[in-house]
């Protein structure tokens, strides 16, 4: 009777894509935030050439806050619409968790793909190591989507207000954030860093995903 986990994930991801594309408010919030902030930053810097370190930090602050503008809705929108209960009745836990996580990753990737070239052009950043930059961004977004999906579920499960989301998100994501800034700095031509920073991010991403997978079963089946 039960579909394979892979099929379940595919179904949930497709459902998220369909509802997401038909409800553009979430997208608009994230895009508006990231572009407005980018324009502000580029005005503030006004063509002065800044350190790679500063650019790296700015990029991650932008990505982090853009994700905050959208990812606390992963479960709370369903809760508000009353569809969460239907999902709880019919869907296996892992399909929901990873389907939603992948969708979150997809949304963040789309925003980054739009934002990153503009960031580089507007601020006149010199990108020395494109591959390193892309890998770092990929690993960073994985961490943000894993942490965001899990926290969103925990917060809806505990029935608390979503203001808590941003408060909890930062400490959880810091182990991704700090090495990602160092690596991005290196990609922008700053001091060379050891690749073990990258290994560290990926390791933490994996720990987050596994922890989410285990915790989510308890949430979903309330046992």
């Amino acid at each position: 009777m039960k579909p394979s986990t892979f099929q379940g994930i595919k179904l949930v991801l497709r459902k998220e894509l369909m509802t997401g594309l038909r409800f553009r408010a979430a997208w608009a919030a994230m895009l508006m935030f990231s572009f407005t902030s980018l324009v502000c930053i580029s005005f503030a810097l006004g063509g002065t050439s800044a350190e790679p370190k500063l650019f790296a930090a700015l990029l991650w602050i932008l990505l982090f806050f853009s994700s905050l503008a959208g990812s606390d809705r992963v479960f709370s929108d369903e809760e508000a619409e009353g569809t969460l209960m239907a999902l709880r009745v019919y869907a296996p836990s892992q399909a929901v968790l990873f389907g939603k996580m992948l969708y979150e990753f997809f949304v963040l990737t789309v925003i980054t793909v739009l934002l990153l070239p503009l960031f580089i052009v507007f601020l006149g950043v010199e990108t020395k190591e494109i591959l390193l930059l892309l890998c770092t961004v990929g690993a960073g977004l994985w961490g943000i989507s894993a942490a965001g999906t899990l926290l969103s579920a925990l917060i809806v499960g505990a029935g608390v207000r979503s203001g808590l989301f941003s408060v909890l998100m930062l400490p959880v994501i810091l182990p991704v954030f700090l090495p990602a800034i160092r690596l991005t700095e290196a990609a922008f031509g700053g001091t060379v860093v050891s690749l073990s920073f990258f290994g560290g991010i990926v390791l933490y991403d994996m720990i987050l995903s596994v922890a989410a997978s285990i915790l989510f079963d308890y949430l979903w089946y309330a046992e």
Binding site: V89, Y90, A95, A222
Partner: protein, 209 residues
């Protein structure tokens, strides 16, 4: 055959006891009604039965022969509907149907869809084009019922299944519930409707609590 067993269950919300020291047994192949006035805990009883909520003390177990069902295995064998349950308003009825059934590993072909839609009284054309958000409340209720029937679940937790339905719809619910019981499904029916109460084999009365 499946069984739901409540053993000395207590449940309170914000210090107010809703269920007190409740013991009950519900068996497959029977319609068990859960009755009592508004606010007496019928919906709470159903949520506890489906393990959507944990009791404060006591135990709720679902057994098949002597095996206790839990977690995913349990969830995949039950269906639940209540007036609070909604399908995705921005998806069409058909998209909702194939999504929720797909999650249970069920893929229906065109004929099978028509058959089950006819059983709950929804026109197949309406399902393809119309988003659930544009359905009337009665149509939505029928769609919930439709997914439950097609899901092949053998535990049905029905919280006011006749809500918002016209006479013909209520007759359909009664007919399908009886048919379900004859197929050995375990049916819990929380209701205030006298005809639905009359169809039950057993009753759990919560009004004394």
């Amino acid at each position: 055959m499946k069984m739901i067993v409540f053993e000395e269950v207590d449940k309170s919300f914000g210090g107010r006891k809703v269920l007190r020291n409740l013991s009950a047994v519900c068996c497959g192949g029977q319609i068990t009604s859960v009755v009592g006035p508004n606010g007496c805990g019928k919906s709470t009883f159903l949520k506890l039965a489906g393990h959507f909520m944990l009791p404060d003390s006591g135990r709720v177990t679902i057994k098949e022969e002597d095996m206790v069902l839990q977690g995913e295995e349990l969830r995949m064998s039950l269906a639940y509907m209540s007036p609070e349950l909604r399908f995705y308003p921005r998806l069409t009825a058909l998209e909702n149907l194939s999504f929720f059934l797909g999650l249970r590993g069920i893929a229906l072909d065109g004929r099978q869809y028509e058959e089950v839609l006819e059983r709950v009284g929804i026109l197949p054309e309406a399902v393809k084009r119309t988003r659930v958000g544009e359905f009337s409340t009665g149509m939505r209720q029928r769609l919930l019922f439709c997914v439950m029937l097609a899901s092949k679940a053998d535990i049905w937790l029905l919280d006011e299944p006749g809500a918002n339905l016209d006479d013909e719809g209520r007759a359909m619910v009664l007919r399908e519930i009886k048919r379900g019981a004859s197929e050995q499904k375990l049916i819990l029916l929380a209701t205030n409707d006298s005809r639905e109460r009359g169809a039950a084999d057993e009753a759990i009365d919560l009004s004394g609590n």
